[in-house]
Amino acid sequence: YEEPLLFEHGSRGRTGVSLPPAPKDYDPAQEIPAALLRGTVEGLPELSELEIVRHFTRLSVWNHGIDTGFYPLGSCTMKYNPKSSEALARLPGFANLHPLAPPELAQGALELMYQLERALSEIAGFDATTLTPAAGAHGELCGLMLIRAYHEAKGNPRKKVLIPDTAHGTNPASSALNGYAVVQLASGPDGRLHPETVRAAMDEDVAAIMITNPNTLGVFESNIAEIAEIVHAKGGLVYGDGANMNALLGVARPGDMGFDVIQYNLHKTFATPHGGGGPGSGPVAVKAALAPFLPLPVVVKEGETYRLVTDVKERPRTIGRLREFWGNFAMFVRAWALVREYGPEGVRATGELAVLNANYVRARLKDTFNLPYETASLHEVVFDDKHQQAAGVTTMDIAKALIDQGFHPPTIYFPLVVHGAIMIEPTETESKETLDGFVAAMKAIAEEAKTDAAAVKAAPVRPVRARLDETRAARKPILRWRPGMKVE
């Protein structure tokens, strides 16, 4: 079936809500200047509740979600989102709590934030954590602001940030947004960053190095301690992109490796739902030297009472505010629920099984697909399309063919250091049978690439749409509905 846009059906005067009547004696026009008033908004839909329900129910089934199948997007950590957490986040005491409620009416929420902060500090090996950033990239921005504030306090904000070529795009973007020039560092033939590369680039103008560990090849940066020493020796700081924290849970801690600051992605490591693109939550954990600069608010415990510090006077060196309120609290609830259900053993098992799953996929596929780096993998593994190129089948084709097999494709064409990268992160919540099914699908596609490349290139045929024309979308952007709109 086809489902029109909300704006393309309905009938004048229909509604999907049941509202109390407006008080009779008040007319906005008596108070607000006519020029500032509008009538009903032309173009808004007019639909019954059933029509809305059908619309979104029908739309939903055009999506692949973790709940419908395997979702091995590398660097995205698409693990199961517990339904318990959804129920807990909806408890009226959380969902209906106003951010400006007096602290005596918000003690439960504050206690939860306080406990989650401490747990995140412990898990990554740091001294303090702020929960306020909205997502991973926001956490990076926060971390770089802390680094800038730290250097400014020493009299010189410095100019540059070192970033390896395997980094997520957010790393250079966050640096630029924070006024730092980016120096890209080449990783070695083993997929790792080498101390000599860092030593060569490091000088007194470098504010920090940003390192993802394990990196986006799934490889542990085993020189991290030495690299940190090199950077620290010149007064620089070491920033950790925590997107891949899932690999280390309970096994190793960035704070024990020389990192000064790291951001979490609760929507990756702690299973808060990705929601089709957000919301996320990007807490930032720091060593004591950076703690005075943390953004507000800060949760403090005084006796048995919790309180939010929001006044700069109490934290004069703070970088200030990053959000209109305290952060994505509903995500804190979900993440804390997971930590509480797991306990220390469960958290460690999470990291171990994530690494086991990735290594299993690697072992099963390494004879079929090219492995550009032989180095050991942790939580994810990167292949490429080298073996399939002869038949003219590319990574894009392999991805689309996987769709027809009922799997979400891995992350493709990233990291940039691998040409035609196929980046697979299974996560710990997937069973061996699911991985076996995925492996079988990948092998079947590799086989078909040899025997019938055209069929692979015609994929996907099963979903509601075939390959979409992205060039057309960008060349003549149609970014909203307008009356009479036709896209053919």
């Binding site: 106003h98 280390l248 072992a363 979409l468």
Partner: protein, 445 residues
């Protein structure tokens, strides 16, 4: 462990396939001295029943019998249960960013609808697929204005949400753009004479709350005219988007950028987040917009479909040259707003906005009967500032009764002559006549 499917047999078989003897062996690439070597110091595991008991305890400490009388950037509204029941469909909430459009048409079409709603309500040409929240959207708007104009000075009304202004300051700290704050008058509107003085050839943009933090419908058309004359952009900031069902669209009043949050549509308060930030602007600025954008196109068979587009603005393509570093946004919150706006529709939105305005009037009358007047004279939507004598004392006293009374303005404007008594209060469709009466009585006694 219900989330870990691995049985001992599974693990053994997988290790065999890998050629490893044990799971710890898989971590050999981590130098021994960098490993933790002890259990994490976390509270012990809880079974699901204990988990619900513990979270019930925490949530119970925040429960109140009545909806809060405070807005100030986060608004208590009724969310029809149908919104949440649709949001809970796993295909929506467990999906990632729709980078594979063929199996993400549900999310993509909903985002296209979100963008359309944002454009219709703000009177703008284009919208992105959402921002973190209103404050960061405001900061991004200022950065965009600076990029577009090549100018450094950001002029902002003191009546713009103070926390939005703080976030703006945090964002601009590294770029060394200058922020100039313009005062507001006794009507609660931005002082236009002061604005005129502050805006010049060096000004990138003027930022105004609409309605502003004092609940007042600010002088957006006049401010936009002043900005336009100087070649600066006007940024309209709306935290209470229900107002856009009653008030003229910012785009129709001369704003070049409209930002804020649609939290009021379909999103619970949740102690302040997550909320769906929105960002809309004129067609000409589309390639300078931050964040993801969904666009319409066709598939190989010529059928209409949707994709994320114009991604050459974004970090995963442009890295340090991107318009913003934003990646994950507020997709699910935007979906909630889209569903709620779909339910409201043309008449529902207008009714809801009029109802909110009426309830605020009802509150004003009730407070008047209790002996409390308002502080500012300008027109308001659903929020207004009352003079209650000692605002902090009232808040503390009502908290004892389980009532969340309002926001004492003195926290943000300590130097305002009437700061001590000023209490910012909201009334929405959730505040019925009896509750409003109860509140006005409670403030007095």
């Amino acid at each position: 462990m219900r989330y870990h499917p691995h049985t001992p047999e599974d693990i053994r078989a997988m290790l065999d396939a890998i050629g490893a003897k044990s799971v710890p062996e898989l971590f050999d690439s981590i130098p021994e001295k960098l490993r933790l070597g002890r259990a994490l110091d976390l509270p012990p595991a809880l079974d699901e029943i204990a988990l619900f008991a513990e979270f019930g305890r925490l949530a119970g400490r925040n429960e109140t019998a009545h909806p809060p009388f405070v807005g100030a950037g986060a608004y208590p509204h009724h969310v029809p249960p149908v919104v949440d029941q649709l949001l809970l469909r796993g295909e929506f909430f467990t999906a990632y960013t729709p980078y594979q459009p063929e199996i993400s048409q549900g999310t993509l079409q909903a985002l296209f609808e979100w963008q359309t709603f944002v454009c219709l309500l703000t009177g703008m040409d284009v919208s992105n697929a959402s921002m973190y929240d209103g404050a960061t959207a405001t900061a991004e708007a200022a950065l965009m204005a600076a990029r577009i104009t090549g100018r450094k000075k950001i002029v902002v009304s003191a009546a713009l949400h103070p926390e939005y202004r703080k976030v703006l300051a945090t964002y601009l700290r590294s770029t060394r753009d200058e922020i100039v704050t313009v005062p507001f008058g006794s009507d609660g509107r931005t002082d236009l004479a002061a604005l005129e003085k502050a805006v010049g050839a060096d000004t990138a943009c003027v930022l105004l709350g609409y309605p502003n933090f004092l609940g007042v419908v600010d002088a957006l058309p006049e401010a936009a005219a002043i900005a336009k004359k100087a070649g600066a952009l006007t940024v309209s900031v709306t935290a209470e988007a229900v107002a856009l069902g009653l008030l003229q669209a910012p785009g129709a009043l001369g704003a070049d950028v409209a930002v804020g949050t649609f939290q009021s549509f379909g999103n619970p308060l949740s102690f302040g987040g997550p909320f769906p930030g929105f960002f809309a602007t004129r067609e000409a600025n589309v390639r300078q917009m931050p964040g993801r954008i969904c666009g319409a196109t066709t598939d190989k068979q010529g059928r209409r479909g949707f994709v994320l587009t114009l991604s050459t603005r974004e970090q995963h393509i442009r890295r340090e040259k991107a318009t913003s570093n934003i990646c994950t946004n507020s997709g699910l919150c935007a979906l909630a707003s889209t569903i709620h706006l779909g339910l409201l529709g043309r008449n529902g939105l207008a009714e809801l906005a009029r109802l909110n305005h009426g309830r605020a009037r009802m509150l004003r009358d009730a407070m008047k009967r209790s002996g409390f007047g308002t502080v500012f004279t300008g027109p308001v939507f659903n929020e207004q500032v009352f003079d209650v004598g000692d605002a902090e004392a009232v808040v503390a006293r009502l908290a004892k009764k389980g009532l969340v009374a309002g926001a004492p303005l003195g926290r943000w404007y300590p130097d305002h002559p009437r700061a001590k008594g000023a209490l910012l209060c909201v009334a929405t469709e959730l505040h019925g006549p009896e509750l409003i009466e109860l509140f006005a009585q409670a403030v007095r006694s």
